[in-house]
């Protein structure tokens, strides 16, 4: 059935256009022979096509446009005085003889336009005449197009300031009156459309109404272009009249569109100065109107206005824009009790953006807004996704604007808003905060701020909901924890005292963490970082404690080995201890080395300790050799174990390593290491390698070979080195 209707419409439109074009043809022929009467007759017939009720707005528009084109040509013809055989006043009379009212009115408007141009009568009189006569058409669709035509032809003939039509009798007020009246009548017609036809076609009607809305809005546009309308006129006449019509029509489609139109079409300075009036209309609108979108639109415009130049900012303060907007929002939210949470938050979000642009220094305003949000979302239980998204946007805005977490931390209501986020969203927000800090590289410099910050991001640091069964993807979790770790980088203060307080604060945070397998990853990580930090803080270290600390951290043997090497390496470089202390530490380190889990590890750690006994240029006692011999013993033991376990001796790698250490100290001039001892070791190694029971180890072979090459190259150096090494036989 519907498709039939569309096909029919097409047919009617085609028929209408055909009729129109035919009459237009005859009209032009009549004009060519200066037959005014006939021309008017055919033009009336042509315009009769517009009397149809069969077309939808979309199709009617097509028909209208063709008629419009023809009327333009007619107007041009009449403009030439020589073409008319009669005066303009006579012509004006003549066209009123047309039989049907709609063609009559179109012709009147056309001739009226020429009449005004001729200036034979005041513009205001003619305009008044026309706008009132158009009342004759009460059919919404036809009336709208007719009045639209009137608006178009009169556009450039309004008695505006500076226009040629202005005079003692014609003022701007007359222009304003004319447009306002046209607007009012058009709106009435437009609203009437809503109630035409059966209830089941409501959706179709609304669609059609939407297609026509710009015809009505055009009037407001015309008003905005009238130069003679200054702030006073706008405030005292134009706005009140327009708002009156908007409120009184009680139609939500119209109200929404027109409010938005007003905001978009008139200048921002005017809006600022008429804020109260404009906002005052909002609560009077139909409850079903989406006023929050309108208000958001207004705030956005004002935000952009504020951003455009700093000179306008004082104006905002002067008109108390913030207070008025805040009030209006409060009233709207109150009036529309069933507004969903995300709607209210969206409103506050817009207000926040506005505030950040206009009053960036007024943290109290920002806080106020957050506070209002808190009271709105409190007690609403679980929030839907749309709402949480809005809240995240709300919370992110100050971060982006201020680029400094310090400022955000000063907002007392900020953490309160975060309280209402569910775990997942809290984590999302926490991440946003961390990203912001890292992007701006802002340092968090006091323990208090650290506390406040950790409170905000606690979603990442501990499990908020113990009953949460959400299995988190391990990779995601690691990423989260890593970003917290990166955050720690930003906790920094030049003053070591303050720095220490910061560190302690972070540590105490760990004490509050709930015991849980995955949660323990974070304190360990933080502790790890702190360990490294402590490295820097230790000017007078308590060495034993440091040793123990490191070894405590290492819960598996690999970590213990690493820890031990760190100790040995660090000790080797440290000269701050007294001789006795150093000795104690060295022996302790060697002792720990010998107690490592695996024999090869023991051996290697012990020979590493040999460097602790050696002080450059001091022949230093036999301790170096003793240490190396201890390593040798361990290597031997390792061999024995391999024998027992596998039935063949293990690799000689360890021995070769120790041999290289012998060579190291030999080169440095340690007299305890004799050529004989080196020789002995070489023989030991070669024997082992050639023995039947040894397993072949290509790596060991290569190592021995390169060691021998090294000895040879030292010999080849000549001089003192060459002499020293000469004695070694390879």
């Amino acid at each position: 059935m519907i498709s039939d209707g569309v096909e029919d419409e097409e047919k009617w439109l085609t028929a209408g256009i055909a009729g129109l074009q035919q009459n237009a043809f005859y009209m032009h022929r009549a004009l060519d022979s200066n037959n005014i009467k006939d021309a008017l007759k055919y033009s009336a017939q042509m315009l009769s096509e517009l009397r149809t009720s069969r077309l939808s707005p979309h199709k009617y528009y097509e028909l209208y446009m063709r008629a419009f084109d023809e009327l333009r040509k007619l107007e041009i013809f009449f403009k030439e005085e020589s073409n008319r055989s009669c005066s303009i006043i006579e012509l004006y009379e003549l066209v009123q003889h047309a039989g049907n009212i709609l063609p009559r009115l179109y012709l009147l408007c056309t001739v009226g336009s020429v009449y005004i141009r001729s200036k034979e009568a005041p513009a205001k009189d003619i305009l008044k005449d026309l706008v009132e006569m158009c009342r004759g058409i009460q059919h919404p669709l036809r009336g709208l197009f007719l009045r639209s035509y009137l608006s178009q032809v009169s556009r450039d003939k309004l008695p505006d300031i500076g226009s040629e039509y202005e005079g003692d009798e014609n003022t701007v007020m007359d222009a304003v009156e004319f447009v306002l009246q046209n607007f009012t009548e058009m709106n009435k017609l437009w609203v009437r459309m809503q109630h035409q036809g059966p209830a089941r076609e409501k959706e179709k009607r609304e669609k059609e109404r939407n297609e026509l809305r710009d015809l009505v809005g055009k009037n407001l546009h015309v008003l905005s272009q009238i130069e003679g309308i200054d702030l006073e006129l706008y405030r005292d006449v134009v706005l009140p009249r327009v708002l009156e019509q908007v409120v009184n029509c009680k139609d939500d489609l119209a109200q929404y569109y027109l409010m938005d139109c007003i905001i978009q079409v008139f200048p921002d300075e005017y809006h600022l100065q008429t804020l109260e009036t404009l906002l005052g209309a909002c609560p009077q609108l139909q409850p079903s109107v989406d006023i929050k979108t309108v208000l958001s639109g207004l705030m956005e415009r004002l935000s952009n206005y504020a951003a455009s130049s700093t000179e306008v900012l004082p104006e905002f303060v002067q008109v108390e824009a913030f207070a008025k907007l805040n009030n209006a929002i409060g009233q709207v939210i109150e009036a529309q009790a069933d507004m969903p949470v995300f709607g209210a938050v969206a409103l506050y979000s817009s207000l926040l953006t506005f505030t950040l642009h206009v009053h960036p220094d007024r943290l109290d305003y920002v806080d106020q807004i957050l506070g209002a949000c808190v009271s709105k979302i409190a007690g609403k239980g679980k929030l839907e996704a749309k709402a949480t998204k809005q809240i995240v946007a709300l919370l992110s805005a100050p971060l982006e604007k201020y680029n400094d977490i310090d400022t955000a931390l000063k907002l007392s209501n900020y953490p309160l808003v975060m309280e209402y986020l569910d775990d997942r969203t809290n984590k999302v927000m926490s991440n946003v905060i961390i990203q912001s800090i890292m992007k701006n590289k802002t340092h968090i410099s006091t323990a208090d701020k650290v506390g406040a910050l950790f409170e905000l991001i606690k979603g990442l640091i501990k499990d908020l909901d113990a009953n949460n069964d959400d299995e988190m993807d391990e990779d995601d979790f690691k990423e989260e924890q890593n970003s917290v770790a990166r955050l720690i980088q930003m906790l920094y203060n030049n003053d070591p005292e303050e720095m220490l307080k910061l560190v302690r604060r972070v540590q105490s945070q760990d004490d509050n963490v709930t015991e849980e397998e995955t949660a323990s990853a974070t304190p360990k990580k933080i502790f790890q970082i702190l360990n490294q930090t402590i490295e820097t803080l230790s000017t007078v270290p308590v060495p034993d404690l440091a040793l123990r600390l490191y070894l405590e951290c290492a819960e598996d043997s690999k970590a213990q080995v690493t820890a031990l090497y760190l100790i040995i390496g660090t000790l080797q470089r440290m000269h701050t201890f007294g001789v006795e202390n150093r000795d104690t530490l060295t022996h302790k380190a060697t002792g720990y080395s010998a107690k490592l889990l695996k024999k090869p590890d023991q051996c290697r750690a012990v020979y590493a300790c040999s460097h602790l006994f050696w002080v450059e240029d001091q022949d230093g006692v036999k301790d170096v050799l003793l240490c190396l011999k201890r390593a040798l013993r361990i290597a031997n033991a390792a061999q024995q174990m391999a024998n027992v376990a596998k039935g063949s001796s293990g690799s000689v790698m360890l021995f070769i390593e120790i041999l290289n250490k012998y060579l190291y100290f030999f080169e440095k001039g340690n007299t305890q290491i004799t050529v004989a001892s080196i020789q002995g070791l070489i023989e030991l190694v070669t024997t082992e390698m050639q023995s039947d029971t040894s397993t072949s180890d290509p790596a060991a072979d290569a190592f021995l070979a390169s060691t021998i090459r090294y000895i040879q190259s030292q010999k080849d150096k000549g001089g003192a080195t060459g002499e020293k090494f000469e004695a070694i036989k390879v």
Partner: protein, 187 residues
């Protein structure tokens, strides 16, 4: 001509947040044939990033690396050169050339790349080179003051290698190059 990047001791996220922007913009995927990393990345993110620059990624285990699977040492042959890689925290005294030379002998390599000291170093001797690419992020190290971020790029061509070191000093990238030629082919 094979390009090999030597990089290490980034300490992300513990001591640094990310690679310096100027280095990042230099490193384009597909240009480098091998990346050898001395260790201390420390997290998977860094591994993935390096892997995206070049699929031939070799990493040895540093003190703070999260991935326990990285080996202690690694060797690879490129053109006529044998390269060895280790982190260096187990080579005592740290940064000592003779001790490092021992490791070079042990691994039987021409070029040994190791880190841990966060100080760039490239030392030539008759039989090879010992290179330390320093810390790519310039992160803190107890034994080196004023660490500048640095990375090393080696251009290996037959028996010859040109070592380029890129150091970020006062916000500007400075480049130096060192030439080395092997006396004989790898046996």
């Amino acid at each position: 001509m094979v390009l090999v990047m030597a990089i290490g001791d980034l300490h992300i996220p513990h001591r640094a947040m990310e690679l310096p922007a100027k280095f990042k913009s230099m490193l384009v995927p597909g240009k480098i044939q091998h990346i050898i990393c001395t260790g201390n990345l420390c997290i998977k993110e860094v591994h993935d990033y390096l892997k995206s620059l070049c699929p031939n990624l070799h990493v040895t285990r540093g003190v703070y690396d999260e991935d326990a699977r990285y080996p202690e040492t690694e060797t690879l042959t490129i053109e006529q050169f044998k390269l060895g890689l280790c982190h260096g925290h187990k080579v005592v005294p740290w940064g000592d050339l003779d001790s490092l030379a021992m490791v070079q002998r042990q691994l039987d390599v021409d070029i040994l790349v190791s880190g841990h000291t966060h100080r760039f170093m490239a030392y030539k001797h008759e039989t090879g080179m010992v290179i330390n690419p320093g810390s790519a992020t310039g992160s803190y190290c107890g034994m080196t003051y004023d660490v500048n971020p640095s990375i090393v790029l080696m251009d290996i061509d037959g028996l010859r290698v040109v070592v380029y070191v890129y150091e970020l000093i006062d916000g500007e990238v400075k480049v130096e190059k060192i030439d080395f030629k092997k006396t004989s082919a790898t046996t």
